[in-house]
């Protein structure tokens, strides 16, 4: 089996459901807004602390600090998952080898 060929086949674009565009326009005309993500209370407190620190130190805007923190946090989360995937895969190699002994 040629995996590349099969992936192209399995992942090729599929047609959106019939009437999709009309449904989006209907929601638009009814005034429906996309769902927003809400901050938790603890996140708001952290944002407030960041804003105060900004006011004290000058420099970045509050929005930039919040955005920077979110970006850094998401990046750290992705790196963590990558690291754990790698570590657990190596552990499993060892585990399988030990099981076969």
């Amino acid at each position: 089996m040629n995996l590349d060929h099969e992936l192209h086949r399995v992942l090729e674009r599929t047609s959106a459901p019939e009437g999709f565009a009309d449904r989006v326009l209907a929601r638009l005309e009814q005034g429906q807004q996309p769902k927003r993500h809400r901050f938790t209370a603890s996140t708001l407190r952290r944002i407030a602390a960041a804003v105060i620190l900004t006011a004290a130190l000058g420099g970045l805007t509050a929005h930039q600090i919040v955005e920077h923190r979110r970006t850094e946090g998401e990046r750290a989360r992705r790196e963590l998952m990558t690291a754990l995937h790698i570590a657990s895969a190596k552990m499993r190699v060892a585990q399988r080898a030990v099981a076969h002994d």
Binding site: E79, L80, M81, S88, K90, V93
Partner: protein
Amino acid sequence: MTRYLVNLLLALIASAAVPFTASAQGTRINLDLPDLAAKASETTDVTLDGAMLRLAGKFLSSTDADERAAKEMINGLSGIYVRSYEFDHEGEYDKSQAERIRTQLGPSWKKIVKVTSRTKEDVDIYVDTRGDNVTGLLIISAEPKEFTVVNIVGPVDIEKLAGLEGQFGIPHIYRDSKEKHGKDKHHD
């Protein structure tokens, strides 16, 4: 506000201190191998100290099974470090480079697993201990075209870490067929 700022500055200074310090939690190992990095076609570099682990933990989902497992895994850890070097061809890197990692291991480190394969992947696993407690983990993996080292600092749950791979994507079909046939159809 002033005390807050002072504490913040102290935290920043502490985080900028010499990174390879022994602690009650265990020792961080220097995983950097510039000779390999220079030859590698791809390098994966993960450096997550305690502060970054805590930050990452805040962004982990408690409803996603993978991330819930990760959150449990990192609880209490003070660092996770990974260097993975990939090469285009076999024989492009010197496996003896691993000695630069091993020579850093003090008497508290114990080798718990050694896997040697003529054609595939050699894996050495070491744990750092304080009495009966695991305070660190080191994995050195050498494949024909990839060299990977992983250092976890802190009370790592080794069983849980090995079990994560079962959660990180092995399909139920694979597990079901393995249980049905009673053997691993993928030979190592």
